[in-house]
Symmetry: C2
Subunit: 112 residues, 2 copies
């Protein structure tokens, strides 16, 4: 047997962060564009925008900020708070998964 | 924020055990009857039976054994292997959830 785990973070009962949501934010950071981030996730722009707004509402913080125009149009950037969450979440996820495998091995006496 | 976690065990890609499945087996142990266990889970008998058979197939072990008749009809009991799994799974689940909360607090610097 092997342990499987699904993780996410909630705030006041609403989903605040998950691996999926962090990937979306990471694509925004990498591309400077919510439209391109949506494309990379296989989401419509509207749906990606909705996810980001939902996270912002649930967390009570701004996660993205759009900068106006110039040649080639504006960029969308992560706020410092979003950058912090995008940096920390994968660490939490990796550490949590490792601990779950350790607990599994300890309780069931099988390698995970 | 608070961490949320969904756990289960797989074997060769099939779901072998989960909190839900362990509750079903526990009801069989408590009542001596798969029909009564199904009723307590709000499942049809057929569906409960299907879940048990699916687990047995995925795990490659017998989990329940029916004893024939006598007055009042036969009883269904857990096999020793099922008793072991029913005893161990909640320990794994509790330990895993505790560790996930600890990792969350450590990484995000917030109490879980």
């Amino acid at each position: 047997m092997e342990p499987r785990i699904k993780l996410w973070l909630e705030k006041d009962g609403g989903v605040a962060l998950s691996g999926y949501r962090v990937r979306l934010l990471k694509h925004v950071a990498d591309t400077g564009s919510l439209a391109e981030a949506a494309r990379r996730m296989g989401l419509s722009y509207r749906r990606a925008w909705g996810k980001v707004k939902e996270m912002e509402t649930n967390l009570g913080v701004r996660l993205v900020r759009s900068e106006a125009g110039g040649p080639g149009g504006g960029r969308t950037r992560l706020t410092p708070e979003a950058e912090r969450l995008v940096a920390l979440y994968p660490r939490f996820e990796a550490a949590a998964e490792k601990e779950v495998r350790r607990r599994f091995s300890k309780v069931f006496g099988e390698k995970a």
